[in-house]
Structures are given as C-alpha cells and as structure tokens.
Amino acid sequence: MRDELKKRVVKTPDGQELEIEPLRDYYCEAPPTVMPAAYSKIVEGLFNWARAESLWILGFGTGCGAIEMRPLMTPRFDAYRYGIQWRPTPRQANLFVISGYLSVKTLKRVIRSYEQMQNPKYVVGLGSCTINGGMYFDSYNTITRLDEYLPVDVYIAGCMPRPEALLSGFEELKRIIKSGKAEGANRYAENFDWYKANQKRVIQDWDMPDYNW
C-alpha cells in the first residue's frame, strides 16, 4: 500500500483537523450489478442495433497491437465508415480493444478503465497474446489468457492481425451485439468474485478498492 493511500489526519490552514481515507473518499466501493435489458423487446432491439452501429473505442493502446489501430483511422481503411469512432475517455467509450500483450502493470490500468465504462460495454482481444499469451506465453510479467480477467466478446487471432482482420472482427462483434448476446458487462457483474480473485492473483501491489468506477 502506497503512503498517500493510507488513512491519515491532515491539518488545514485554518487549524481544522480532517481525517482523510483516500480509498474511501475518492472511489466508489459499490460492486457492479446486473443491469436488466429494456422492458420491451422491440426497444432493446433498437438499442442493440444503435449500439452495434455506434462503437466508440476507448483510446487505450496496451501492446504493439495499438499500431494496427492507426491505419483504421486514416484514409486507407477508414473505420469511421462503419460507425466506429475513438473516444479519449472511458466514460463515453463502449468498446475496449485490448491491443496485444498485456503486462500485469498495464492490466491494473485496464481494469480501472474497464470498470469506469458504462454498461453495456464490450471487450475485443486483439492478437494471439490475448488468447494464449502468444510469443509471450512464458513471460514472467504478462498475462496469458485475457478471458480470466475481463469478459471478452470477440477474439481476433493473428500476430499481428491486419486492419482488414480487425474490421472483420468488428463486424462479427456487431453481429453478436445485434443478436443480443454481448452481455459482457453483466457477465462481469455476475462472476465478479471470480474475476476479482483472478485479478488479485496476478496483481501483487493491489492498492485500489475492489471496484472503482
């Protein structure tokens, strides 16, 4: 536990004494809950269609795969045509692309960012590293199976997958969302304890609350 995260008493310039407990004060500790779909099937279908056609990717590059996202934004492949846009903040994004190998240090940030995204949210694992560790299968500080830490909707295999493969993977994700089967956020909430135990097993310096939105 880092020093600045410990509970302490500080004195204000007025001489008032305040008790500060950063983990309590700065974060919400409520665990995620399963969010039901809209009451009407028609409305949920409309929402799912809109969600599928408006994928906002969180601008977070974890490994070497992030380099494959640039051709998607630029004229050669131009993913904007398919309703795929990039957002810089997890609050507004609904798709997290884990782009390549994920070191344990990055996993911590990925979990925090993922939990700040709003339900429904989707995860795409890009490259072999997210499936079985790829060429880092025996590395001491990268995770090998992404699915144990976050609920993954689609894997895109390859090392590296070309931008065409990414586009085809996004089309597959759209198909899954439209059929109403992309409930990753709810799966995460249902199996919250299992995911947390897995995450804590690899992250040694766990200095954040269990759930931080």
Partner: protein, 301 residues
C-alpha cells in the same frame, strides 16, 4: 402584448426542423472535412445512432446536482437562442418568440450555455474538465468581444435592437445586406464566428488529442446525449443570428437551409486549411485581428 398560445406548437415545429437539420448538417460537415483528408467519414445518419445509443446506456452515474444541470443549461442555451430569434423572416409561423429587444437576449444566450457547462464540468471533479473549462471560457470570452462590437455596430446602424427590424431593413436585394452596407462589422463577426464553432484552429478546448476531451470528460449516457443534441442545435441557432444580422435573413426554408449551410461551410473551410491554435495564441489573434475591425465598424457607423 398578447401572448398567443399557438406560438408554442409553432416554435416546437421550428425546433424539430432545426434539430434534425443540425444532426444531418454536422454529419455532412464531418464528411466534408473527412473528404479533405481523403477519407469517407461517418455516414450522414451516424449522429442519430450515437444519440440512440447514448440514451440506451443502462448505467449512468452522477456527481451531484450541478453536474446534472450542466448539460441542461447547455441545451437551454441553444434552444433559448433559437426560440427568441425569428427563424424565417416574414412568417407568423416561424418567427418564434421574437420581440423588440431580442438582440440583447440573443447575446446573453450565446454565453449562457458555456457558463452552465463550466459549473457542471467543474463539479465532475475531473482535472481535465477543469482545464478544458478554463481554456474554453477564456477563448469564448475573447471570441465574444468582436461579435459584441459587431452587434453594437449593426444596432447603431439600423437604430434598433429588434432582429426582425434589422432583417426588414436588409430586404430588397443582396446589396442591402449588412455584408455590403457595413463590411467591417461582418468581418469582425465572422472572425468571431470561427472561434465559437469548436472547429480548428479554435478547437483546442474539445480536441481529443489535447486534453481528453475537455469539459465533457466525465459526461456519458443521457448527459452526453443532451450535449450532442445541443451540438446540433446551437451552431444552427447561432448561424440563424448571423444570417439575420448580416446576410439578409431567410424568407423561406430552402433559402434558410442554403444560407445556414454556406455560413457553416465557412468555418469548416477555415478549419481544414489551418492548424490548431493554442489558447493564448487564439486570444491574442482575436484581440489583434478581430477586435480592431469591430472598433472600426463602430467608428464608421
């Protein structure tokens, strides 16, 4: 003055037409900017999909009352600006709630949304929001100065504060427009226009590459959807003011659509051609290039 209840459905109709036109127009402008970069860009209906998706998010969190009210203030700034300015000149149906002193109210509404947003974003507690708000407010304030000068010049020129009367004075041919009768005021106002459209070179406030992504960093789901609706309505409402003051207003919807498109295109045209200013550069640019034009306009009147 008698209040006529029929004005309420009429202005709702105006709002509906303008909002839809705004959604389509911003997408078309994004497409035009994308074509300059040799891309195809988003589909024209993308804004609607984003809106439905944001309303359809299942979870949302709030940071407090002001956080909640920020987008509401922002949207009421845009809607208020639109409703108190005559949209189509000479029709009872689309004159909205315009009255004798509406020019002053319009000036106020242009600024209202930015202030509301500042309060809301500040309560979200995100440092990027605070930085974005301080940048945005300083830039909007600097951009507002030449516009205010131009508005005073126009009000002096026509000796009235009613937008309807200003439009009436410009009827009778292109050469009667303020554009030709008071070119300095129009020049100052159009430079100020660039600053308020959140496009390059003045989009450092919202540009995702700078500080992600400025004031709306913490906004999501329905809050963001309100902000998106405002991003469709507010530019059009502002352009309506410009069109009425400087470009002879519009007497029918086709003329309205054309003029709004061309005025909007001006900011996109500048935006794709010039790189982004930092905030202190843009403030200096407004004070050095635009304000003197406004002063000249007032002196000449």
């Amino acid at each position: 003055m008698e209040f006529e209840w029929i004005k309420i459905p009429y202005s709702m109709l105006t709002l509906f037409i303008v909002a839809n036109y705004g959604f389509l127009l911003t997408a078309v402008m994004a497409k035009i900017a994308a074509r300059v970069g040799r891309r195809h860009g988003i589909p024209v209906w993308q804004n609607y999909l984003d809106l439905i998706k944001n309303y359809g998010l299942r979870s949302s969190i709030t940071h407090g009352v002001m956080y909640y009210l920020g987008p509401v203030f922002r949207l009421s700034g845009g809607v208020g600006l639109l409703l108190f300015v005559p949209t189509i000149y000479g029709t009872e149906m689309f004159s909205n709630m315009s009255f004798a002193g509406d020019l002053i109210l319009a000036l106020y509404f242009v600024f209202f949304g930015a202030l509301g947003m500042a309060l809301g974003a500040a309560e979200s507690g995100h440092p990027h929001s605070a930085i974005g708000v301080s940048r945005g407010l300083s830039q909007v304030t600097a951009a507002e100065l030449p516009f205010a000068l131009a508005v005073f010049a126009v009000a002096l020129q026509y000796q009235t504060l009613s937008i309807t009367e200003i439009v009436a004075a410009q009827q009778g041919g292109v050469l009667h427009w303020t554009l030709f009768s008071n070119p300095f005021a129009v020049a100052a106002a159009m430079l100020s226009f660039l600053g308020s459209m959140m496009r390059p070179p003045f989009d450092v406030v919202l540009a995702p590459q700078e500080i992600p992504i400025g004031p709306p960093t913490e906004y999501h789901s329905s809050y963001l959807a309100l902000l998106q609706t405002n991003r469709a309505i507010f530019p059009i409402a502002k352009i309506v003011v410009y069109m009425n003051l400087f470009f002879g207003g519009a007497a029918s919807w086709p003329v309205f659509f054309l003029k709004v498109f061309l005025i909007y295109l001006f900011s996109v045209f500048v935006g794709v051609a010039f790189p982004r200013f930092r905030v202190e550069q843009s403030i200096r640019w407004f004070l050095v290039s635009a304000v003197p034009l406004g002063v000249i306009a007032i002196v000449l009147v």
